[in-house]
């Protein structure tokens, strides 16, 4: 066996993308994977630099230039086809000719980062890579991680959906710890279904917007939290207080069926809310307007009708000045005159 054939046989197994180039610059032998990539073009006998362009560290145009790059990290490109990018290294054959023709070189090539593209383009298999080449493992890892990533993306999507659903189904207002609109609607439906007498109050803070606009959201949030605490302290444990809007609250008072008692509760709520709220540095004052109604057993009111009455009563209370309450018994009746509660001065009624 000639020196070239012997060297070629060894290299074919170790480096399936090697090229043995003779002193004239013509290819004497090459690895099987490279032959596959170049097929149907015949690489043997072709001029190496006509098939491959050396880009880095600098372009070369003859054998001497190629040999001078021995040991350097080469970046090359296949001239034909889709100009596949390659990495490579050059080794000179020994001067005594024992390994092959003196003045010749061995170039070993690899795909570098474009390996996946190359595998696809040329339908390479595990057998096209050297036994010691970790390319297959790398492709495995790439694919395994893509599968895991896709799974993770899907799980995140599902959890986000679940989180939203949970938030919608939650019954608590996160800022004040009171019940929220949804909880209030459920409780109101429950009371109507049970058919026992109860009272409904709709409460709206007065001058809250000024506090919020002048002193910021932190002050506004503090006022809302303190108002919530005080309202809770002003009613019974089983009464339901919900925050149903920015500075709007609604209360359900089971068992309350007396106008005078309800009016008293409304005024107690207004008084406690009118107490100054302090954050240590500043003191804030707000008030509240309240509209209310009673649901007595036999009336068979709908939730909508009751809420409409309470709303209208609240509107009347607001219209006639702040810090007032209006209690209305009869759905569909004209609103009665407001009953007075007006402890704050006219200066505050600027909302």
């Amino acid at each position: 066996m000639s020196a070239v054939a012997a060297l070629g046989a060894i290299l074919a197994r170790l480096c399936p993308m090697f090229v043995l180039v003779g002193p004239s610059g013509h290819v004497l032998a090459s690895g099987p994977t490279l032959a596959r990539i170049l097929a149907p073009r015949e690489i043997k006998g072709a001029r190496f630099l006509e098939m491959f362009e050396v880009l880095r560290p600098q372009p070369v145009d003859d054998m001497a230039g190629l040999a001078a790059l021995e040991g350097a990290r080469l970046r090359l490109r296949l001239r034909a086809g889709r100009s596949l990018a390659l990495k490579g290294v050059v080794c000179r054959l020994s001067g005594d000719g024992s390994l092959g023709p003196a003045g010749g070189v061995v170039v070993n090539l690899s795909f570098g980062i474009s390996v996946l593209e190359a595998v696809r383009e040329y339908s390479l298999t595990g057998a096209d890579f050297a036994v010691t080449d970790p390319t297959t493992e790398m492709l495995y890892l790439l694919e395994a991680k893509s599968v895991a990533m896709e799974e993770s993306r899907r799980l995140n999507h599902r959890l986000e959906g679940a989180r939203r659903a949970a938030q919608e189904q939650a019954l608590t207002d996160p800022l004040t710890g009171l019940r929220n609109r949804r909880a209030f609607d459920l409780a109101l439906a429950g009371l109507l279904h049970a058919g026992n007498a109860f009272a409904l109050l709709h409460l709206d803070l007065d001058f809250f917007k000024q506090v919020n606009d002048t002193h910021g959201h932190a002050a506004g949030d503090l006022v809302l939290r303190v108002a919530a605490q005080r309202m809770r302290a002003a009613v019974r444990e089983d009464d339901i207080i919900a925050r149903v809007g920015g500075d709007e609250f609604a209360l359900l008072l089971p068992g309350v069926n007396d106008m005078a008692a309800l009016r008293l509760i409304a005024q107690r709520l207004i008084s406690t809310i009118e107490e100054p709220v302090s954050d240590g540095a500043r003191s804030y004052r707000v008030s509240a307007s309240v509209g209310g109604t009673l649901d007595r057993q036999r009336e068979r009111n709908s939730a909508e009708a009751l809420l409409a009455v309470a709303d209208r009563a609240l509107y009347t209370a607001k219209e006639t000045g702040r810090g007032r309450s209006v209690i209305d018994t009869a759905p569909r009746s004209a609103p009665p005159a407001p009953s007075g509660h007006d402890s704050q001065g006219a200066a505050m009624r600027s909302r």
Partner: protein, 200 residues
């Protein structure tokens, strides 16, 4: 890890026995969606209950179901990702058999909490391979039957003709014997190295 096993069982049951049977099973066991999330922790006990209830409902032994599961993972379009990842292990069936020893490491690379038992391959005379599979306390079940089903389908995939025999289990693990009759019996299925992950 058990979330992944449960998910595989879920797919197997839905594809092989229908949606209705699966729904009945999940409702009877009061299992939530989280039990079938591959990336979420799940108690091995859930898999155990699922498998027992399924075995009772369809009148088959749990070992038979697990063997079906192994075959299902390699041969069904829905689990093509599993088949592809396994095929990266070897260029032919014998190469694949040798890669089994790396399988626990490969699985861990893909998912850090995927803990497979140790696998040892002992090549014998005349195409006989003895596979020793350690116990898998994390999964809480014997994976030997799964491996038997999986090897049967992988042999098909590579076009190899094999005889498989689960030789039994003891406290140290399980032993499976593979007799390779013909490594190139049929054409096998194509494996495109660069096809990339399959979209579900």
């Amino acid at each position: 890890m058990n979330g992944l096993i449960n998910r595989a069982l879920q797919w197997l049951v839905r594809d092989s026995y229908g949606e209705a049977l699966w729904r009945g099973l999940v409702e009877a066991l009061a299992l939530g969606e989280a039990a079938f999330e591959p990336l979420m922790p799940c108690e091995p006990e859930v898999t155990d209950r699922l498998l027992s209830a399924l075995a009772e409902r369809i009148g088959r032994a749990p070992e038979e179901i697990l063997e079906d599961l192994g075959t299902y993972l390699v041969s069904q379009p829905r689990t093509e990702a599993a088949r592809r990842l396994l095929r990266f292990g070897g260029v032919d069936f014998v190469d694949f058999l040798y890669s089994l020893e790396d399988l626990p490491d490969r699985a861990r690379l893909a998912m850090p909490d995927f803990t497979l038992p140790e696998i040892r391959l002992h090549p014998g005379a005349a195409g006989l391979y003895r596979i020793e599979l350690g116990t898998c306390p994390q999964a809480g079940l014997r994976l030997g039957p799964v491996l038997v089903g999986l090897l049967r389908a992988m042999a098909d995939d590579y076009g190899a003709l094999v005889l498989l025999d689960h030789r039994g289990a003891d406290s140290r693990g399980e032993v499976i014997e593979v007799r390779l009759l013909d490594a190139a019996f049929a054409d096998g299925r194509a494996f495109d190295l660069g096809a990339g992950p399959v979209a579900r």
